[in-house]
Symmetry: C2
Subunit: 169 residues, 2 copies
């Protein structure tokens, strides 16, 4: 299992092709296992999101894909994104109105927190189950019935700290 050993933030010089291929393979397996149709368009959209470890807006996905195929209509991309999100292959980053390919193989219901690097724009995931539980507990104490948690932390990732915040301007 290589997936379990992946770092939160992939190093700048990591083998990204491998990284992408793994994620695509994983998506294929998930879809096959659920009798879901992993169509070319859905594959392409996922591939576009995988082209970086940054979240992309829907229109960025369109632009990215327009480089290798006829330009997709917004609705088409949104349909594909919906599909990918429903199958846990893509996350929506609320604070950015953007979408991130899930590089990890976690449970659908697993609570994750996103670490968003201000400098390079990369986003890492960390498991947030214990924290989410504590939060939900605190919420329940007020009589609130929590359903979905959004935990997004902005800051500077380790690689950019080392590099000296190059993109900070």
């Amino acid at each position: 299992m290589t997936t379990a050993a992946k770092p939160t933030f992939p190093a700048p010089g990591h083998d990204h092709d491998r990284c992408t291929a793994d994620a695509i393979t994983h998506a294929e397996q998930i879809c096959a296992g659920r009798a879901q149709n992993f169509t070319p368009i859905r594959r392409q959209v996922l591939r576009a999101l995988l082209s970086s470890h940054r979240p992309l807006g829907a229109y960025e996905v369109i632009d990215e894909l327009a480089r290798v195929m006829p330009r997709l209509a917004p609705i088409t991309v949104y349909r594909a994104l919906d599909f990918l999100m429903q199958n846990g292959l893509v996350h929506r980053i609320e604070s950015r109105n953007a979408f991130l390919a899930c590089a990890h193989d976690h449970d659908d219901a697993a609570a994750v927190a996103f670490l968003i690097c201000e400098s390079c724009g990369s986003v890492g995931e960390i498991p947030a189950a214990p924290v989410a539980q504590a939060l939900n507990e605190a919420a329940r104490l007020t009589g609130f019935a929590p359903k979905l948690s959004v935990v997004e932390i902005t800051g500077i990732c380790a690689h950019c700290q080392a590099a000296g915040q190059s993109l900070s301007a």
Copy 2:
């Protein structure tokens, strides 16, 4: 001090005028203490946000204010919102692209989590300091330097649970 005793979600029949007046007074004090200019427009924008315990989009603020004064240009509202946020009087709800008048009197740096009711749209704040610390700790373990945390939990507030999710459609 009444502010400390406020419930997370104000009851449907609470004294909202009082609630608004308190917040305005609080804003005046904050601004006076910092030699910040609490101008009529800023006051009005804050008042608009205080008209409910729901977050409002910038355009909703404009619409709300248009009922009692000449329609403001977007830029004007954004300037006022920036000011109010800088002074901790208004929060931005990232997952909604909307703004919420801060009904509580917490520290600028205090970590808060937002509880967003799916049914009535109200938003409550709960202190999230311990949880935020745990999160930041987990983040730091990966080498990430956290700056700002967004914790937004959607669900159903106590009042709506009691009322039977009336607005759920």
